[in-house]
């Protein structure tokens, strides 16, 4: 029983990390219908920024992540405002191509600038854990898990209770109507992409504190974010959190009770099963599929 509880606790915490990676990706996809294939590269860029900040200033990653988020917000805003907005009305295939291109440039740029060396942010508490009964709870994973929950609820509060948030949701639902109401869609889109990149920066900082990273990991995080976003469902800010937690649990249980080789196969099997019975994901909303694009 202790083993089951240990695996469940660890799976949930791992799921929190997955949710943290996916929440920004899900936001951009849900609001702008853009599948951002460069999301993983933003996560890794955030990890490098936090790593450099720690190296230069000795700043703890839990403080450094705000600088990383701020830098990536600017990068994301500029990318969307001056690049992706140019083709935002085009077919989804074009946005896929563009974000794939951005992904390639970012990865190769990081390869050249930071080299392909393996990196990690070292802290004195990085691998610390504490016991609850007979269950070990890793400290940093717990903090990352809590961060994922706080960010999700903060995002919900932001889009529901602030003018900017409401304008983001309005633009996502009906861009034409939003424009008629005086909302500057281009600015709102850039803002949304900037927020997504900032969240990727925070996720990257947590990744760098918990495990190792290098530019080649970008693809893994994009895939992870994609799966979690689809599993949780679009159009609901809680989607990434729900999808991430479920994926973390499935991976943990599959690893424990089957051969480790089956972990990924089982995780994708669960995704297929969920989509068969709930095509919009676990908590996704169908009205997003029928929104008006002008």
């Amino acid at each position: 029983m202790d083993t089951f509880l240990q695996v469940t606790a660890y799976g949930l915490l791992q799921g929190g990390l997955l949710a943290l990676v996916a929440v920004g990706f899900s936001l951009v996809w849900g609001i702008m219908n853009i599948v951002n294939l460069s999301h993983g590269a933003f996560v890794i860029l955030g990890a490098y920024i936090a790593w450099e900040i720690q190296g230069w200033l000795g700043l703890d990653p839990f403080l450094g992540m705000f600088i990383s988020a701020a830098v990536l917000f600017c990068v994301g805003y500029i990318f969307q405002r001056f690049l992706i907005n140019l083709i935002v009305n085009g077919p989804v295939f074009i946005t896929l191509l563009l974000t794939f291109g951005i992904n390639m440039i970012l990865i190769q740029g990081m390869n050249l600038f930071f080299t392909a060396d393996f990196r990690s942010i070292q802290t004195s508490y990085g691998s610390n854990s504490f016991e609850v009964g007979n269950i070990r709870i890793p400290l940093v994973r717990l903090l990352a898990f809590l961060l994922a929950i706080v960010i999700t609820f903060a995002l919900v509060a932001f889009v529901k209770h602030t003018r900017t948030g409401i304008s983001i949701m309005a633009t996502g639902m009906d861009r034409g109507a939003a424009r008629l109401m005086g909302i500057r869609a281009r600015h709102v889109y850039a803002l949304t992409f900037g927020i997504s990149a900032a969240l990727a920066g925070m996720a990257g900082t947590m990744i760098a504190t918990i495990e190792t990273f290098d530019p080649s990991k970008a693809g893994k995080f994009t895939l992870m974010a994609f799966v979690v976003a689809v599993l949780g469902g679009l159009g609901n800010m809680y989607g990434a959190l729900v999808g991430g937690l479920l994926m973390g649990l499935v991976q943990g249980w599959a690893g424990q009770y089957l051969s480790g080789t089956w972990v990924n196969a089982i995780a994708f099997l669960v995704l297929i099963i969920v989509l068969v019975f709930r095509p919009n994901g676990l908590v996704g909303k169908a009205f997003y599929a029928a929104r008006v694009e002008i």
């Binding site: 080649s216 080789t261 972990v263």
Partner: protein
């Protein structure tokens, strides 16, 4: 003076000499050099970019040393080598395609990619194209069980990676541990490593736990660790790459798993291992293809210690075994070229099969399958952040610290 046709010809000839004669001197010099081109498809981007870059450095270092020191001639002309690099993005299909591109350009002599999956794909193409390849990055025994005759591996086989650490522990660990748990990535190379290690551990009287597998390149090995936690093994032996190796040490601490020793393949000899893990890396054992204390020397690199110091001066970082095995593969190819005095792939294949040399990399000699089963592995331990050779005793820099996990 009356110009005759003969006078005109002399004037034209003199003019030509005056104009082109100066340039003719280096041209004549260049004509005395024969350049032999070697093709190397290595992963410079993608998941193996780190190891790929180390491999490229090793090849480059070999090219520079050989071209600077070689006095060998081919057909009366001084021999030079030129290595043409292609990025295979860490993908086996591209690693194989690049060799066919080399073949289309007439490049028949190949230095391998890094990673058993890449080299496995390349070995089949080498056979098809009748090229000859020296392998510095694919140690999986499975590559050499298919009857290929054109691929030669300078490294000790995969089955020796864990076996060497098992032997070192059996020989040097006091008190001798009883139980040994095997955790492994699920790729072919890692599984071969694990099978070899388990066989050796059983033969040496250890109680073997596992193996427990996890997906290759994962950063979460917690499930495998949870499965062996209750057994409280004395030694956890991981057949891993860098990412899984780091995750294993970190997550074991998170989960409160404290064996007497961790031993891992591949990861600990990479310089980033100690810098990434910090104090957690301390005293982890690792298996390595090479260390700067290996015995043997030859004319290009001298002793292993010479290789280490000159490499450091050239590239600004310590030589890893990935660098050394790449240089050794290039060296084997160069020695075969010098032996045959040709660039003919068939003749060089025959010369490689007969090669037997003591080098900075240890003995380079190939068995009938093309593997170097004559060179022992080295066991290292991270001590005070440094990679220290602890086994075999004859080349050890320090004693193995045992046990160390508190």
């Amino acid at each position: 003076m009356k110009k005759t046709p003969r006078t005109s010809a002399a004037i034209i000839a003199a003019s030509c000499l005056a104009v082109f004669g100066i340039n003719a001197i280096p041209a004549a010099s260049a004509a005395d050099v024969v350049t032999i081109t070697l093709g190397a498809s290595v992963p410079l981007t993608g998941s193996l970019a780190k190891e790929g870059l180390l491999t490229k450095e090793g090849y480059q270092f070999c090219q520079e040393k050989v071209n600077a020191l070689s006095t060998a001639t081919i057909g009366g002309k001084q021999k030079k080598i030129e290595i043409v690099f292609q990025d295979d993005t860490s993908k086996p299909d591209l690693a194989a395609q690049n060799l066919s591109k080399f073949n289309d350009k007439g490049i028949k002599l190949i230095l391998s990619s890094y990673g058993s999956a890449n080299v496995n794909a390349q070995a089949a193409v080498v056979e098809l194209n009748k090229q000859t390849m020296v392998d510095s990055g694919g140690a999986d025994d499975a590559i050499f069980n298919k009857g290929y005759t054109r691929t030669f591996n300078v490294m000790s086989p995969a089955s020796e990676y864990a076996t060497s650490m098992v032997r070192a522990i059996a020989e040097m660990a006091k008190p001798k541990p009883v139980t040994m748990a095997f955790l492994s990535a699920d790729d072919g190379f890692s599984k071969t490593v694990t099978a070899g290690g388990m066989k050796a551990a059983t033969a040496l009287g250890f109680t073997v736990i596992g193996p427990q597998y996890f997906p290759n390149a994962t950063s979460d090995v917690s499930a495998a660790l949870n499965k062996i936690k209750a057994d409280k093994p004395d030694v956890i032996l991981g057949s891993v790459h860098f990412v899984e190796g780091v995750a294993m040490i970190k997550q074991a601490k998170e989960l409160g798993i404290t064996p007497k020793s961790f031993a891992e393949t591949v990861a600990p000899p990479i310089l980033d291992f100690a810098s990434t893990l910090g104090p957690l890396a301390e005293n982890v054992l690792g298996s390595s293809q090479w260390s700067s204390t290996v015995k043997g020397q030859e004319k290009y690199f001298g002793k292993a210690s010479n290789y280490a110091s000159e490499f450091l001066a050239r590239f600004g970082h310590e030589a890893t075994y990935h660098n050394a095995e790449a240089s050794a593969a290039c060296l084997a190819m160069v020695l075969a070229i010098e032996k045959t005095k040709s660039a003919d792939a068939e003749k060089i294949k025959t010369a490689l099969a007969a090669l037997d040399v003591q080098s900075f990399f240890g003995r380079i000699k190939f068995d009938s399958t093309g593997q170097n089963t004559f060179k022992p592995m080295v066991v290292i331990q991270i001590q005070k952040g440094k990679i220290i050779t602890v086994w075999p005793r004859s080349i050890a820099q320090a004693k193995m610290i045992w046990p160390y996990v508190k």
